[in-house]
């Protein structure tokens, strides 16, 4: 039947439902398991083949040789498009996607993350 106010019932029922939206920064959003977030680099696994650099669509990753069989990675979070092609391309699984997604920042320089070989898993921010 064509009539006005066809949605009135649904609308009034909504009063007693839990809101579908959340108060985001207060309530954390949960990412799915396969989420492609900020990258993590394991320097000890890297063999320096630089396939990730070649495949990266946005030239966001740079692998540098810092010693005999030691490599560090610099990832520019502002350039990265989070496609995780480098994770797929890496033959030694030296790269990994994490669930971290709140990466906005005001300073471009601070968005360049260096995973250096010496300090293993720690994340160091380039000054």
């Amino acid at each position: 039947m064509i009539r006005p106010g066809r949605m009135i019932r649904e609308v009034l029922e909504s009063l007693f439902k839990k809101a579908a939206t959340t108060k985001y920064p207060l309530v954390k959003a949960v990412m799915p398991d396969k989420f492609r977030g900020k990258l993590k680099f394991y320097p000890e696994r890297c063999i320096g083949c630089k396939i990730c650099m070649r495949d990266c669509p946005s030239n966001a990753i740079i692998i540098r040789k810092v010693g005999e069989k030691n490599f560090e990675a610099e990832i520019d979070l502002a350039k990265c498009i989070y496609c995780a092609q480098c994770v797929d391309s890496c033959p030694k699984k030296a790269l990994e996607s994490t669930k971290e997604f709140e990466l906005a920042g005001l300073d471009h320089e601070k968005l360049k993350v260096v995973f250096s070989a010496e300090t293993e898993d720690t994340v160091e921010t380039k000054a």
Binding site: I2, M7, D33, K34, C56, A84, D88, E102
Partner: protein
């Protein structure tokens, strides 16, 4: 009563009815539109040129970003063309998974459209409800691919992620809920009187005009043009699925709404079929980095209509030429026709009814500011210092405040 007569009003490049910058320049007499110009190109990002300078793997992600909503469409269309040139035999399972993502994408796109249509005619409640329900399919997509948009599911030679058996019941239950909700929206669309009033008889495009002007997708199908690439030129797994092509002969926005909700119901059916008949096998075959010389044309039924990609390879790891024809480019040309002698108030919904995606359409080049800034414009540093000065006059000094509260960066 004073009446504005023969106004020229700019709808865009910046206008609340448009989610992306395009310019519809409208001449109004009172509330009636007497003539209209469509100006495209504000979003030209030079993607086709950029593709020639990148490898196939890089192009895949670039092309995925032609459009956010139909990202899988463009990526699949491109990848299919490359696979045809390289002569890669993609496994059945990969084909099915591609089709699954394609249909889920169609579901999310059509639900999104329904909400946008509601918003354009001031029915925000419809917007809120459809977008709430759309979260169901977005969650499924995020579960399957990792992300809500730009799924990154395709790779040359197959797909990047498999569908596990635990995921299947979750997808099915989400689809069941969505089907229930879609039935409700069909009821609303056909029975709510204000909605009917705003949609019926608006943006009329006769069957002959639709054929003549080359409309595609739901816009054409609502004018009883029985064309659907999924059936006519089957790709991926569509040749093995059974589905109806929804057409309608209302020829107006109401018809386009019915076609889209009808397609939603078909998509649910297809998703169930795919999950039932999902073949076993590998999800990707190894692709060479260098694609042999050759050319291919790939067509794909995106949620908005026929998407066409032409790829020419020259034997290196970079394509010689990539041509993208997004569905909106075919459809936008009928908008001016549909709006002639209609009310200004119908403009947003008629433009929205082709489900425009202008960034798809343009794919352009950025032009840096030429010459010195003119009197009317302010460069960013000037504007910045102007705003600081203005606030300082009001007694608020940002330099001091910044010292006091050190602005936290995103990284610890």
């Amino acid at each position: 009563m004073p009446e504005p007569s023969n106004f020229r009003i700019p709808i865009g490049p910046q206008h609340p009815a448009l989610k992306e910058p395009e310019c519809f320049s409208i001449v109004l007499k009172g509330e009636k539109i007497t003539s209209m110009n469509v100006r495209l190109g504000y979003n030209h990002r030079g993607i086709e040129k950029a593709c020639e300078e990148r490898t196939y793997i890089q192009d895949m992600y670039l092309i995925e970003r032609v459009c956010g909503i139909c990202s899988h469409s463009h990526a699949t269309c491109f990848v299919q063309a490359v696979e045809e040139i390289a002569g890669l035999e993609v496994s059945k399972r990969a084909q099915y998974i591609r089709t699954l993502i394609a249909e889920l994408e169609r579901i999310h796109s059509h639900l999104l459209w329904l909400g946008v249509a509601g918003h354009e005619i001031g029915f925000d409640t419809l917007l809120m409800y459809t977008w709430r329900d759309r979260e169901g399919v977005m969650d499924v997509l995020a579960m399957l691919t990792g992300n809500r948009v730009n799924y990154g599911m395709n790779t040359i030679g197959g797909v990047r992620r498999d569908v596990t058996s635990e995921q299947i019941p979750q997808i099915l239950s989400a689809i069941d809920i969505l089907e229930e909700r879609t039935k409700y929206y069909i009821q609303i669309a056909t029975e709510e009187v204000t909605l009917r009033e705003r949609l019926s008889g608006v943006g009329v495009l006769s069957h002959d005009d639709a054929v003549h002007l080359g409309a595609v997708g739901p816009t054409a199908r609502a004018s009883a043009v029985d064309r659907d690439i999924r059936r006519d030129d089957p790709y991926a797994a569509y040749g093995e699925l059974s589905f109806k092509v929804i057409t309608d002969n209302h020829n107006d926005v109401y018809g386009r709404t019915l076609v889209r909700v009808g397609e939603l119901m078909e998509s649910y059916k297809m998703v169930r079929q795919i999950l039932k008949n999902l073949p076993e096998g590998p999800v990707a075959v190894k692709a060479p980095r260098k694609i042999p010389a050759g050319e291919a044309l790939s067509r794909y039924e995106a949620p908005r209509g026929e998407d066409v990609h032409y790829v020419k390879a020259n034997g290196t790891d970079k394509p010689e030429r990539v041509k993208i024809r997004a569905p909106t480019l075919a459809n936008v040309q009928v908008v001016a026709h549909m709006l002639k002698d209609r009310y200004l108030a119908d403009m947003p919904i008629v433009i929205a009814a082709i489900d425009p995606c202008f960034s798809c359409t343009d794919r352009a080049i950025s032009v840096r500011e030429q010459g010195n800034s003119t009197a009317g414009t302010m460069s960013w540093p000037t504007l910045h210092s102007y705003s600081i000065d203005w606030y300082r006059k009001q007694g608020i000094d940002f330099a001091e405040l910044n010292k006091k509260f050190k602005i936290r960066g995103a990284l610890k």
